[in-house]
Symmetry: C2
Subunit: 301 residues, 2 copies
């Protein structure tokens, strides 16, 4: 697919809206008991957001020539896992954040118990979608594989473990390798999973294509985080949706704090080029993924 | 299988040990990073316990003539979900408990952040086991169905929702129907799921057998909770592993507080008889399930 930057913007918008519509359908009705829990789940998942993870799911499907309805459930599941992790990360015992995406965090809007339970219920919902969605006409075996991957990346050697290492690292001096390891577990793991799950939807994917997509995923997973760290230094609070400088204030190791701002920008560019290199075996059909990689490192919020 | 009460005791012991061995194999190594998170997961799951849920999984498999290795993964998954729910229920924002099974609760032994993450990682681990365990030679379709059921019961309309209703109910006056609804979601849902998942392992189960097992499950799920409430009034702290009277102190509605102690005992007996009635279509092979129902209402801790 040949696209220009205007076409890219409109594709992003289309994917965002599609993801939000799907999420809306899967989330429990807030008229139904327990009302407050359901409100908290919807509040957090449907908060304004970039929908980066569903976008990667759809873009991968589009690259592989798959119908988007085939991966709607995957897009919803990964975004729900992401939303749950944010709710729990924001809790007083963790990062103790009051603002998320420009609005009160879940435990500030509701209460702490509701926020814990909303996260818990959302994690369960993600696995429910992958096991239950009728639009997923994949083989049962492929779906099991997706659940296996998503649960592995959500667990103690994935996202939850990454958050544990993150908490331990506050106030510590990490070297660049340790910092990368932390982020690969935390942000990178889920971004990689998005692409892997979407790729699992294709029946005729070769090993080299799968490898190429995985390399791409690792690069953009890390470049996204590097840019996040950069924006914490140079962005402004109103566009970030969270206080600018909050990582610094919390004494969290970030790319700029470990290697400096210029080297961080260089790192992001380098990862972007690596991502593009990985996609060289694909033709025009991967344009959307190339644009996404550029977007990750050029974004201002 | 013909068993007497001595044979029952030894079967229980066998199932408990088998479950603990399986759990030990699935839990992450506490030498591996993040060490503290892995310690917290093992500490909570391997805490001394009755292993009621794995026992029900194994007993159902035995009743249906299935090999126990087929359901080891199920037994581990349900116990892990149970352990995760206890860790989160005990948190300061929830029930704020210091003791669990006679030992400090997870957040008291470690810290609150680690306890939240341990619960999160355990939920993911349960789904990982069901999707990954090689000993589960079930069809992929049957395994997807198990994941669907377990995720549905773990979610906002199951266990997490039950806990939300539970928290809302503190200090309120519930009628007996509301109390039953709360417990059916909380304890009952997972007990029912144990039996359903184990039953899904059989390829030749008739609809009437499935219905009978489900009725049994609903009865014992509730009778177990009634007896728990009774023991909170009449039990003693040392055998309970938690302070006797902790529900009363917390002003939680319980069966004795809503219908009185005698009526609660009568209720437990009645549920036990209903459970036995449901099993009448099975012969001697269901003896173990009958013994379990009796154990639930006669136990002193």
């Amino acid at each position: 697919m040949k696209i220009d930057s205007e076409g890219f913007e409109s594709l992003l918008k289309k994917y965002q809206l599609r993801a939000e519509k799907t999420l809306n359908q899967w989330l429990p009705d807030e008229q139904v008991n327990p009302v407050e829990l359901h409100q908290a789940m919807r509040y957090s998942v449907l908060a304004p957001g970039k929908r980066v993870r569903p976008i990667l799911v759809y873009a991968t499907a589009s690259t592989l020539g798959l119908g988007l309805q085939l991966v709607d459930g995957i897009a919803a599941a990964v975004e729900i896992i992401h939303a749950y992790s944010l709710i729990h990360d924001d809790l007083p015992a963790m990062d103790n954040d009051d603002l998320r995406r420009g609005r009160p965090t879940c435990h500030r809007k509701f209460d702490e118990a509701t926020a814990i339970l909303a996260g818990d219920a959302l994690q369960a919902l993600a696995f429910y979608i992958l096991s239950h969605d009728d639009n997923m006409t994949h083989s049962s075996k492929a779906r099991l594989k997706m659940i296996e991957k998503l649960s592995l990346f959500s667990g103690s050697r994935g996202m939850a473990g990454g958050q544990a290492i993150d908490l331990e690292s506050v106030g510590k001096t990490l070297n660049i390798a340790e910092l990368e390891t932390m982020h690969i577990h935390k942000t990178g793991a889920l971004i990689r999973t998005c692409i892997q799950l979407s790729a699992l939807s294709s029946k005729q994917l070769g090993a080299d294509q799968l490898r190429a997509l995985d390399t791409y995923a690792k690069c953009v997973g890390l470049s996204f985080q590097v840019q996040d760290d950069i924006l914490d230094v140079v962005g402004d609070t109103s566009t970030l949706g969270k206080p600018q400088g909050s990582d610094i204030e919390r004494n969290k190791p970030t790319f700029p704090s470990v290697i400096g701002l210029d080297a961080s920008r260089e790192k992001a560019r380098e990862l972007h080029h690596k991502a593009l290199d990985a996609l060289s075996i694909f033709g025009e059909e991967a344009e959307i993924l190339r644009y996404i990689s550029a977007w990750f490192v050029e974004r201002t919020h």
